[in-house]
């Protein structure tokens, strides 16, 4: 009997602990950008941290959230980059065998992700900020440019909409913003602009 009560207590505690956690795997569709392609071959390095990026809330005062962004951001970059360059190759590192044809390498990473839910602000909105660190290297693996791209997305709460779907929507808007920022600013980063002019 004692063992039964012990097991029941453990199960109840597990249920309470797991039941309080909200999880979200970001899902969305990203359109192909309407921009002129740069006539270069881009080698993209997506490391495992980027591919499997997951945000876990550590602040005990906040509601516990676990947000998986990896798949969605991979989908975004795999849609956006082929529209920006005439050829895009996924590579594991700078020494990959297909590197001979690569003009420049690109390696994105997330520095920080933040979000707000309506209960935390006076605004009736879900907000998301993603701070990306973008790095571009020449074909020898030498760093050419390193810049921060901040993406922002917000969505108003709506009647009959769950917290998960509202936060997902804000995340997708932020990812679209990241794609827009990358597409429109890439050639204007001074170091990249200089490289592009040299290698026209």
């Amino acid at each position: 009997m004692k063992i039964f009560i012990f097991k029941l207590t453990i199960l109840t505690l597990l249920f309470l602990v797991l039941g309080c956690k909200s999880t979200l795997t970001v899902k969305g569709d990203f359109p192909t950008p309407v921009v002129n392609k740069l006539p270069f071959t881009l080698g993209v390095i997506y490391d495992n941290k980027f591919k499997d990026y997951q945000y876990s809330e550590v602040d005990e005062k906040r509601e516990e959230w676990e947000i998986s962004v990896g798949d969605a951001q991979l989908q975004l970059f795999k849609t956006v980059l082929p529209a920006m360059f005439s050829n895009v190759i996924d590579v594991s590192d700078f020494n990959s065998t297909e590197n001979n044809s690569i003009d420049i390498f690109f390696k994105p990473s997330i520095d920080e992700l933040q979000y707000n839910v309506p209960a935390e602000t006076k605004l009736n909105m879900f907000e998301v900020w993603i701070k990306y660190n973008m790095k571009v290297y020449d074909n020898n693996g030498q760093l050419l440019a390193d810049w921060i791209l901040t993406a922002y997305g917000k969505t108003p709460t709506a009647f009959m909409k769950s917290q998960e779907s509202a936060l997902n929507e804000a995340m997708v808007i932020a990812l679209r913003d990241a794609g827009a920022g990358l597409t429109l600013k890439f050639s204007h980063i001074p170091e990249i602009n200089t490289w592009l002019l040299k290698n026209k």
Binding site: P31, T32, P33, V34, V35, N36, L123, N124, M125, Y152, K154, T155, P156, A158, I173, R176, D177, G179, A180, G181, T183, L184
Partner: protein
């Protein structure tokens, strides 16, 4: 078991009527600088302005205006907001969309962008800016669980205000040709005697209808 549907409809009709019985006052204003001329096959796009930090023009309001414009008498050919934004990505995102008519020139320097506009046959872009918010709420309702079931008692009331402004850009002539504003105020009530009975003022929906009807008038008045 046979269910008498007409009985169900009659039984719930007063409840539905009551739900929609809240009152809303709508004020519409229009300024038209130039005539709007839409020839057959040309389209308009209704799109929300989302540059403000403290509010967001609701996507459902944009789709409501689009639906009203594309139905009934004098219907217009409306391109849905999401379709337009996706096809012209990344040029009409919240932080990249042109703020002034002359900014359109920057976009049209890209052949692919101007080709998309031609494919949609866009003549007018209608930018909607604004939101609906609760301005006051008071009262309280308490519900309790007893042996006879759940019962609620009390009274709640809240005011909502919707303020929207539409700026109409003539894409072909690159001009701002007019503005339409819609302002709606309404009070909703929720008396609760055993069950809560919502008497909701459809503030956003009424602001949408008022705005859409005036926009139809804006285009048809010019043609007539």
């Amino acid at each position: 078991m046979m269910i008498n549907m007409s009985y169900i409809r009659v039984k719930f009709l007063p409840f539905y009527l009551l739900i929609s019985a809240g009152c809303t006052t709508v004020t519409i204003e229009e300024v038209q600088h130039t005539e709007a001329t839409l020839v057959e096959g040309e389209s308009v796009v209704v799109i929300g302005r989302r540059t403000s930090n403290d509010y967001e023009t609701e996507p459902e309001l944009i789709s409501c205006i689009g639906k009203v414009l594309s139905k009934g008498d004098n219907q217009l050919n409306v391109i849905p907001e999401q379709t337009f934004m996706d096809n012209l990505y990344p040029w009409f995102e919240p932080r990249t969309a042109p703020l002034r008519v002359r900014d359109l020139q920057r976009l049209l320097a890209y052949d692919a962008v101007s080709q998309k506009f031609d494919d949609f046959n866009v003549h007018y872009i209608i930018w909607i800016d604004g939101n609906t918010e609760t301005t006051r709420s008071s009262g309280s309702i308490t519900c309790s669980l007893g042996t006879g079931g759940i019962g609620c008692f009390g009274f709640g009331t809240w005011d909502k205000k919707a303020e929207y402004e539409a700026s109409i850009w003539d894409y072909k002539n690159k001009k701002l040709i007019g503005k339409v504003s819609s302002e709606a105020d309404g009070t909703s009530y929720m008396p609760a005697i055993v069950i809560p009975i919502p008497i909701i003022a459809q503030v956003q929906a009424d602001a949408c209808k008022g705005m859409a009807v005036q926009l139809k008038h804006f285009f048809n008045n010019s043609q007539g």
